[in-house]
Amino acid sequence: MKKGRTILDKERFSLTIERLCHQLIERYDNFEDTCLVGIQTSGVVMTNRILTGLQKILNIKNIQSGNLDITFYRDDFRIREKPLQASKTSINFDLENKKVILVDDVLYTGRTIQAAMSALQDHGRPSQVEMLTLVDRRFNRHLPIRADYVGITVDSIDEAYVQVEWAEEKGVDKVLLFGSKREK
């Protein structure tokens, strides 16, 4: 039995995504030399959602996007108990001198983003990297990393667990907060 508390329901979820799209448009105008890069696996779903939103608002189709898998770049690879299984990286364009917006669903310790930034380097030298996240757990950072665009901010104790559920995978969009990972 799930004990999670819904902190973002379906309606507010879609409003939040829409707001993030508008924030991006405010900064990037028509997305020239700009691309979205989603971090496997949930970041990719989020990227597609943002892309759809942007295309609807701007009525343009050619915003570049890619998927980035960071498994091979993780710093905890040999100390984890269970090995991670890699997913696919597909960035079919050069990142050299591009403005990159990294997309993930939850920003927690910052280690994923650190790994993602070293992974990005292997695809060229972007002129600028920004970060967009749906949920920012700002009190649990291990590294000096912050997001530029934030859906919601969750201030919670370290044990708490935030789960983002996507309509593509779970049927309905929502964000849940659990007391601990075991409760999930």
Binding site: Y73, L84, Q85, T89, S118
Partner: protein, 309 residues
Amino acid sequence: MRGSQLSTKHVLGIKYLTESDIRLIFETAENFKEVINRPIKKVPSLRDVTVANLFFENSTRTRLSFELAEKRLSADVVNFSASSSSVKKGETLLDTVNNILSMKVDMVVMRHPAPGAAYFLSQHIDANIINAGDGTHEHPTQALLDAYSMREQVGDLAGKKIAIFGDILHSRVALSNIFCLHKLGAKVRVCGPPTLIPKHIEKLGVSVSYSVAETMAWCDVANLLRIQLERQDIKFFPSIREYAQYFGINQDIINKTGKKIVIMHPGPINRGVEISSEVADSSDSIILQQVENGVAIRMAILYLLAAKR
């Protein structure tokens, strides 16, 4: 869901791997294939791992392939070849390896002329061991890259017909291939002169044929093996010329079957002996793709073994 780790600490032979291990290696190799086709072909996964490549027997391809795989994973690499070492001074295998391990090496890639050498080592030392060929026994990484390359060409191997031609008796590639293809559900046939086909090989579940034409007509994929003259102390066939005439694959033989057959060879190829130049350079031949896949497969194995520690 399939496990995300190998069931074993070493890769000593296909015999010791499960089907899901093999599939996990293929899935991981898929990701590394993407990595090695990037402009920057390197990931930092194994930056805290030291690998020793111990080659007690000659090798160009396998050794280069392993070394590239290790370097592309950012591992530290030390190389050792028997011709320039203390082995000549009478040191035992175990002593040699223990000395190398005292220098804090995490993984050992070994090729050795004695069958079972890698298994023997795994019983005595702590590091992860990858068998890069032990005598006439097994050559697991070659079999994995062969099967992976076949899958790229003909899809899932279940029910597919794979023929292995040539010197089956002296070939560790043949034995590993047979084990690997069977685990993936393929049908295997071996074809060569009777003297080069081991007695009772049918017990491994393969069929045997002495006719190249018949076997070519049967198979979807033909894996041609080299005649290993260096392992033959007696004459197994009258002459290289006669072998080439009866068991060499040329374009005519392929044309007569009237179908597309994927041509493979683990290398080094002897042009004009087991394979004609025309066939080796034709579009049906995937010899060079095999070499490319070799690096990805070896990266996958190194990566998965490192994750296992």
